[in-house]
């Protein structure tokens, strides 16, 4: 995993609630056996006319050149639905390093963190402040300080992140490294707990 310490970028506003993983990456694109290349099908059915990549839907934010950046800002309950990690891969492959929302679905949150995409939970008010910004506005995220700032207004919130996950993110460690290094404890557990 690549370490993530700071982000300073414009943002893409997706003013919608309950964005589910079937929208982030529809099931028909889950046939791949590698993690790469999902970005081109991110929000596929909102981005393009049915199955035709040459016909982008002009009304969708990813097709509007005035918006860009490494931060996706979305309405509450982002990432609900399926456990498919392909959703996190698609966001990452597209170029997003962080998703900001007022509420995240659990599995998505874990999947994102496990792929170095930082889910930042902000208050409803702060979210509304971001949405009210123009497309030139930039946001700064500091993982160490746990802050998110709207640069032009200086409005700032701190966000929560589990200290362990924070260490992983700042250093680019992942959970598997941790588990492999603790095999002895796992084997000891197995000896005393012969369950199933």
């Amino acid at each position: 995993m690549v370490a993530l310490q700071k982000i300073h970028s414009r943002f893409v506003p997706l003013e919608m609630e309950n964005v589910d993983t079937d929208q982030i990456i529809p099931a028909r694109f889950l046939k791949a056996t590698t993690r790469d290349g999902f970005g081109k099908n991110l929000f596929r059915d909102w981005r393009y006319e049915n199955n035709d990549e040459t016909k982008p839907k002009a009304g969708f934010v990813l097709n509007q050149p005035q918006y860009s950046g490494e931060i996706l800002v979305a309405g509450k309950n982002f990432g609900c639905g399926s456990s498919r990690e392909h959703a996190a891969w698609a966001l990452q492959d597209y170029g997003f390093k962080s998703v900001v929302s007022s509420f995240f679905a659990d599995i998505f949150k874990n999947n994102a963190l496990n792929n170095g995409v930082l889910p930042i939970k902000v208050s409803e008010e702060f979210l509304a402040k971001i949405f009210s910004q123009g497309n030139e506005s930039t946001i700064s995220i500091d993982v160490e300080k746990q802050t998110i700032t709207i640069d032009v207004t200086g409005a700032q919130e701190t966000f929560e992140i589990n200290p362990y996950k924070k260490t992983c993110l700042l250093n680019g460690y992942d959970d598997i490294d941790y588990l492999i290094n603790n095999k002895a404890a796992i084997e000891a557990y197995e000896i005393t707990n012969q369950g199933y």
Partner: protein
């Protein structure tokens, strides 16, 4: 202080607690399938590792398999490669695979329980959100992402933060025509599609106790649709009777030993939950969804909400968008609306009891000529049982099409899709935009409500057809 059922199982499986961090949770059973495992196998191979405890892993091919001519090579090249990859990975890592053509093949959440692999007190994971289904046996079962699948491959553990606990008590008697699917659709409509986020839910109360194992599985299955990490029900006689004698169930002395452990699996009287909800069973009517998340549901004889009347702006926009996609209007009834498709299948409602119920109602009737009806049994064993009981004849005479086991039109990954713009009454668990095919419009309901629509061609209150 007493302990909740969840805590009893969770605590027993914590290998280690990381300070200020998650716990290392030991996993008893790990189910895998073709779609969310290939990248995890690659991951451990890149690290030079083998699967740590292959005997605790069970594999099947379900999401991306055809439901016709399963004996022939898969036509779609990408699907074929993905299924082939699973076969190779399982071989390389000594994992038991119930693949296409195997008598145990089927939807992962159908086969685990029916083979007796799923047992009370276990921790169970799978790279699939509906792993919550297995909680019906009093197990801590939850869906994980592919990185976590890789963790379990590497160490038989996952790093997890302990969720909060919620108990939903449903007391009283259910109305005629109300199935467990209606109970869970009712709960989700009541607490919304995100109302359970951060929680592990225990379902309790006399109405839950009265349900069969298969009905309980339907409820736990859809826990994820309210955002919950998982759902569970304390095991009881119904549970033990269901497991006894199944393929991989313990037997002899082992059975006695296990039974003694399992009977301790309940929430203590003085256990405290982070949240509790009380529901009276008599509030619940047959349910149907009108929107594009499972929380947008109403009683079958109710009216679609009027978006303008909803005070919360976000929620209002949501419903407006949903109604637009669904081609529906607030303030109107769904009853009597024509549907073009009926799908009876998925890990929510494709078990033998579901199909028996449908067959008992359909017997001697014919489907409406404007409706396509597809029945997809959850597993090869369910399909075999359908034949043994002659239910297939009833379905065929009614004009229904019976397919082979798999996820099918639940997620529209294979060719089983609902055409754009058409309505489908589906016994599955998700009505997201495009879930059953781009532009498809899904109305979630119970198998009986689906069967009623198959016969009449319109959204129907099953109670109108079964009145004596």
């Amino acid at each position: 202080m007493g302990k909740t059922l969840f805590d009893k199982i969770w605590e027993k499986h914590v290998v280690q607690k990381i300070e200020d961090g998650p716990s290392v949770l030991y996993i008893d059973k790990h189910f895998i399938h073709e779609v969310t495992s290939p990248q995890a196998f690659k991951g451990i191979e890149n690290r030079g590792l083998k699967v740590f405890r292959p005997q605790q892993v069970v594999a099947t091919a379900d999401h991306n398999v055809p439901t016709l001519n399963q004996h022939l090579p898969i036509k779609d090249e990408l699907s074929r490669l993905q299924v082939q990859q699973l076969i190779e990975n399982c071989k390389k890592h000594d994992i038991e695979l119930y693949g296409l053509g195997h008598p145990f093949q089927g939807i992962v959440h159908v086969i685990g329980p029916e083979l007796g692999i799923t047992q009370p007190g276990m921790t169970i994971v799978c790279g699939d959100s509906h792993t919550s289904t297995h909680g019906a046996f009093g197990a801590v079962a939850f869906g994980i992402g592919t990185s976590e699948v890789e963790m379990v491959f590497a160490s038989q553990c996952v790093l997890q933060t302990r969720p909060k606990t919620m108990r939903i008590n449903i007391e009283g008697r259910l109305h005629e025509g109300v199935l467990s699917k209606d109970i869970i659709l009712y709960i989700i409509a009541k607490i919304t599609a995100s109302g359970g986020t951060g929680y592990f839910v225990e379902y309790a109360g006399s109405a839950i106790r009265s349900l069969s194992m298969e009905a309980r599985m339907t409820i736990c299955n859809m826990s994820i649709e309210m955002g919950a990490r998982g759902g569970m029900i304390a095991p009881d006689e119904t549970t033990f009777e269901y497991i006894r004698g199944r393929q991989f169930a313990p037997s002899g002395i082992q059975w006695e030993k296990k039974l003694a452990e399992w009977t301790q699996l309940y929430s203590d009287n003085d256990a405290v939950f982070d949240s509790e909800i009380q529901i009276n069973a008599s509030e619940i009517e047959p349910m149907i969804t009108y929107g594009t998340n499972p929380g947008l549901g109403i009683a079958i004889n109710g009216l679609i909400p009027i978006a303008e009347s909803i005070p919360d702006e976000g929620e209002r926009k949501n419903i407006e968008k949903a109604l637009q996609y669904m081609g529906l209007q607030g303030g109107k009834a769904l009853l009597g609306m024509p549907v073009q498709n009926v799908f009876i299948g998925s890990c929510t409602n494709s078990r033998i009891e579901d199909l028996r119920l449908v067959a008992a109602f359909v017997k001697g009737k014919k489907k409406n000529e404007h409706v396509q009806v597809m029945i997809v049994p959850g597993s090869q064993q369910v399909a075999k049982q359908v034949q043994a009981e002659g239910l297939d004849k009833i379905f065929i005479e009614a004009g229904f099409e019976i397919r082979q086991a798999g996820c099918s039109a639940c997620l529209g990954m294979n060719e089983d899709k609902i055409p754009a713009g058409e309505y489908c009454i589906s016994t599955s668990n998700r009505n997201f935009e495009g879930r059953q095919g781009a532009g498809a419009r899904t109305l979630l309901a119970s198998p009986l409500t689906a069967a009623a629509a198959a016969i009449t061609g319109v959204v129907t209150d099953i109670r109108e057809l079964t009145k004596k």
